[in-house]
Symmetry: C2
Subunit: 339 residues, 2 copies
């Protein structure tokens, strides 16, 4: 991508759009990629762009919380949940919202916000809301609902859906996410949050994401070369195959079993192959993170940060090949000696 020095000076991208800081080209490519992949409904949705889906999560909390004196509203999610959610929800001690913990054990009356991450970070399973109440307001974090990670079984159709460039194409450094929002007033308040928080979103990165998504969508219509998703599916498939084999061979740890489903995008049946492995140490090990760090020289994130047990850790399946191979070697070696 080439950006001339005089380009994108203004705060504004499109004064006629409710989301006045959304670059029109990006809006167009977001609609197109969802249509090509079939993973989300975009018709009659407001698109809100954010500085990563992290900012959009906070924008959604701001938009969905009551602004009267009844707050703060509880925000819950089923454990294991993304470890940053409690931190992001509580770091400003907001009077609008607060972390309410594990949705499975949530029992309070009154309105609450439930965060549904599907496929889930850290464990990769598909999720639906669990709190059995009509007063729940839902936010769907669909960062990983792309065909390199999971079969696309239908076009997601929820009130507030969050996506991000960092997990769809891997461009984390661009810090661009987007929300697809049904309700105009919710979208308006999310936009208001982003206006107050950062007065819009980097235009340079928006234009770059537009270009990247265009290339990805174009690749899906090209019959003479592998598409972006074919390529990344194959990479994920290979890694999960190796990890599962290592689990079987060593018998000292396990990873989740996923059911096979038919993917409408690829037109074939396969199992999930998530961005993270939710890795469980064998019975004899109480603290998996400590064991891997001390005995195997592998740095992971303990299950406790995700509202779960110490016997679990989260392991990234998206690291570079050399790192992934060292990781495989270390967990496979029967001795405690390391590379």
């Amino acid at each position: 991508m080439v950006i001339p020095g005089w380009q994108s000076l203004s705060y504004f991208s499109d004064e006629n759009n409710l989301c006045w800081f959304l670059e029109p080209e990006l809006g167009k490519e977001i609609v197109r990629v969802h249509k090509v992949v079939g993973n989300a409904v975009t018709q009659d949705r407001y698109i809100v762009v954010g500085t990563g889906s992290t900012q959009l999560y906070q924008a959604a909390l701001y938009a969905l919380s009551p602004h009267d004196e009844s707050g703060p509203i509880n925000v819950v999610s089923t454990a294991p949940y993304y470890s940053s959610y409690p931190l992001i929800t509580d770091y400003l001690k907001s009077g609008l919202y607060r972390w309410g913990g594990d949705a499975k054990t949530y029992k309070e009356d009154g309105p609450y916000i439930e965060l549904v991450t599907s496929p889930n970070n850290p464990d990769g399973f598909l999720r639906e809301s669990v709190v059995n109440s009509s007063k729940g307001i839902l936010i769907h974090d669909l960062a990983y609902y792309w065909p390199q990670y999971t079969p696309i079984t239908s076009a997601a159709d929820h009130d507030v859906m969050l996506f991000t460039a960092s997990k769809s194409t891997g461009h984390a450094g661009m810090r661009i996410g987007w929300a697809l929002v049904k309700d105009r007033e919710t979208a308006r308040k999310m936009i208001e949050y982003i206006e107050l928080n950062t007065i819009g979103v980097s235009k340079d990165s928006q234009l770059r994401v537009a270009k990247v998504l265009k290339v990805v969508s174009d690749s899906c219509g090209n019959e003479t070369a592998k598409s972006f998703f074919d390529h990344s599916y194959d990479a994920m498939y290979e890694r999960w195959k190796l990890l599962k084999q290592a689990a079987k061979d060593t018998k000292r740890f396990s990873v989740p079993d996923f059911a096979s489903q038919r993917c409408n995008f690829f037109g074939r049946v396969f199992e999930q192959q998530p961005a993270f492995a939710w890795f469980k140490c064998g019975e004899e090990i109480v603290d998996c993170e400590k064991f891997l760090r001390e005995e195997k020289k592998i740095l992971t994130k303990s299950g406790k940060h995700f509202g779960d047990e110490l016997s679990y850790v989260r392991i990234s399946m998206l690291d570079r090949d050399t790192n992934f191979n060292i990781f495989l070697h270390r967990i496979s070696s029967s001795s405690n000696s390391t590379l």
Copy 2:
């Protein structure tokens, strides 16, 4: 600037820097431009990059507020103050900090944060802290401390200083600001805020700001062509000359009088020529914003949003030539008819 598709994928920019999401090239060019212009001390300072200085302002509040049970701490600034400050301070009803109003009338005991904007938005005057207490924690917003707006009389040397690309070179759409911070722990907590708020800052825009600042600094050493600051100084000078002349001719409004000072950067004496005109309607007009809107078809922002009187409005001096000329024509015309 050219960005290849594979570049800047990672969240990380420099794992050895406290500010791990700061692009090293940008850090280098920030130090260089302050050295060239002489407007701020950078030696022994931590540089924290943000999504505009708006995010850095919030990062500073997070860093400087007590996180024990004593909060929220009051945040004050002398009126007229930037109209967004109260909104940004209060929109999340934080338990850490809250807007405390005009610093001139602030009388409470105990710690507080005072925000010093110099040159000031909206009125362009140079500012110092006004609350007479040893318990004040200061944030200096120096967005407009550049030689196209004001004489550079010394290198600013405060604990927390905020700058932004949008006011130094005009690239608002990049959403990049930076803070120069003396204290390591303050910088660390500002970085923590940005990590929780947006997991870093767009790399594409950081690299572009690095390039823009490099071109600006290079232009200052070029003896055969006008520097960036010469060029923008001349543009501001011309506009202020026309506006002052219109005030003199019509006698129906006034703009501030500024004292001349010697600028170390240009090596000559001149008056401030701020990015905004703090425009006062004549005695006979109570509500200046309403008068300009209804009688002159000029949209402005009322003094009331800046903690000041209705007889004032803020007018941007940075709009495009065609808009500025229409504005001049409309305020100069003695009749109420408009273009």
